[in-house]
């Protein structure tokens, strides 16, 4: 592999493929290296892909791509030990103007990679690039078990555990409080039964986030696919460490919650998976460029943990990285001078604007874990008290509800939390 490319992209996920497609379409000679036996073989997410961003590469992709269901309803569950409070938004506009689709990554990613191949990129599977090759401090290629491969620009799209960004010195080792571990199961349930249980039409789907009833920064998720459910838990590594519980135990506990279990009843496990999510936010974003190299997607820690957006960050950063390399090729300059444009493009797009806006959110919630523990509990207690009918007068009931609330969180604490929450998003 002494052949030289305009660009080598390491990783055939949405970020890498978006970059490869963008460059190949402009006529650049592009090599994509994927360590899995095919694109998507190592990839896990909740999850959904978004119409808006995926269409930047593939207009009307849902007509041909292996999608599962279009999301028409978003659910927010607040769990207590034996109860839940459910907030949900269903909208027919999601049926007319699509917003997001559930997919299986091992099926969607190969389809997506094919687009880059059709545009002229070469995609080689089963190839791990485990180090960069540098010359005078500048990245000029990557080392693989099949030999060295050279390029003007290497794009590291090798995911949350990015070896390349670390080897190149663009990223520190991840910190346990800046990453979330997700453990997930794909559970087969007949199509019609999914539709009955979630009150869905034939191609409609639900995306559900579940908070509460767990250790600290901890959440559950549930997505309806065609004839499977994706069900999992996500917990920060720091809180997992402190909890004394195993990821698999947390997942089992969650699946056996009396509000969740009926949805999974008689399901057959198809796959168990686990993956990290870089949720540290703006302050943890990697250095994204250096002489001869760019970093995109999870490898650069580009994830919005609050809105659960990641694939759109990967796609957009991939496109912007690709555009930057096209510029660099025109100028014949592959040093930081030109590649710095990528960082500027990220700054000007929603990618870094959103992460900057939400910059304090991850640390806020990690220092205020009761948003994940105490508040869902309170919501359930108050909802219960509101609905129970007995001989207690309403006057006494309302007083008891107030004292229940303030026993769990003081008036001052409550006021401070509301104020801080408002300030966080304003």
């Amino acid at each position: 592999m002494a052949e030289k490319f305009d660009s080598i992209v390491v990783g055939a996920g949405p970020g890498g493929i978006a970059a490869a497609y963008t460059m190949a379409k402009a006529g650049l000679k592009v090599l994509v290296l994927e360590k899995g036996e095919k694109p998507g073989a190592k990839n896990v997410f909740g999850g959904v892909i978004y119409k808006y961003h995926t269409e930047q590469i593939a207009p009307e992709f849902w007509k041909t791509a292996p999608i599962e269901r279009r999301v028409v309803e978003y659910q927010y569950w607040f769990l207590s030990e034996k109860s839940h409070v459910l907030l949900s938004h269903r909208n027919q506009r999601f049926n007319n103007e699509y917003n997001a689709f559930t997919v299986h990554r091992a099926k969607f990613d190969p389809w997506f990679a094919k687009l880059a191949e059709d545009a002229g990129a070469v995609v080689i599977n089963r190839t791990t690039a485990d180090d960069v090759i540098k010359e005078n401090g500048r990245v000029i290629g990557v080392k693989t078990e099949r030999g060295d491969a050279l390029a003007d620009v290497v794009i590291a799209a090798d995911g949350v555990n990015s070896i390349l960004a670390r080897q190149a010195g663009l990223r520190e080792e991840l910190r346990p409080d800046a990453v979330v571990l997700a453990a997930k199961e794909v559970i087969a349930i007949p199509k019609t039964r999914i539709e009955e249980r979630f009150n869905l039409g034939p191609e409609e789907g639900v995306a559900a986030m579940l908070l509460g009833w767990g250790p600290g920064m901890h959440a559950g998720f549930m997505y309806t696919n065609r004839d499977t459910l994706s069900v999992g838990i996500a917990v920060s590594l720091r809180d997992l460490d402190k909890s004394g519980q195993r990821p698999n135990e947390l997942l089992e506990q969650f699946k056996n919650h009396p509000s969740i279990a009926p949805l999974l009843q008689d399901g057959e496990l198809k796959e168990y998976s686990a993956h990290l999510i870089p949720e540290g936010g703006y302050d943890h974003v990697a250095r994204v460029y250096m002489d001869g190299m760019l970093v995109v997607g999870d490898a650069a820690m580009l994830v919005n943990a609050i809105n659960w957006e990641g694939t759109n960050f990967a796609l957009t950063s991939g496109i912007l990285a690709g555009e930057t390399v096209i510029q660099a090729k025109k100028r014949g300059d592959f040093t930081s001078r030109t590649l710095a444009q990528y960082r500027q493009k990220l700054e000007q797009s929603f990618v870094l604007k959103d992460l900057r806006k939400l910059r304090n959110v991850p640390s806020f919630f990690s220092s205020h874990p009761y948003f994940f523990t105490v508040y869902p509990d309170i919501a359930n207690e108050l909802a219960y008290m509101w609905h129970v009918v007995d001989d207690e007068t309403k006057d006494a009931r309302f007083k008891r509800m107030q004292s229940t609330l303030f026993k769990r969180r003081s008036k001052l604490g409550l006021a401070r939390d509301l104020f801080n929450l408002w300030r966080l998003f304003s």
Binding site: G40, R105, D130, E173, P176, E185, T228, E268, K270
Partner: protein, 95 residues
Amino acid sequence: MTAARTMSITDKLYRDRFKVDEESHLWIKDPKMCVKCPFNFVCIRVCPTYVFKWEENKITITYDACVECGACHISCYNVGWRHPKGGFGISYKYG
């Protein structure tokens, strides 16, 4: 209860597809450090597939059950971690 809800981790992992390499992509950098582990055996506790065990005064690694999440090496710097060779390791059918 239903099958999916009472499965052991071993049974769960049978549903996953692995192509096992001959050599481990995980290792302990300094086994002596583990004897007085300063992190209360965090590698054992955070691993979603129970790859690490404490046996006969050392950490043993069942690397063929690893789904390559990376939780171990981020939680403890004494865990050595690299990607398996191309095509090896976990290969998701759904993901």
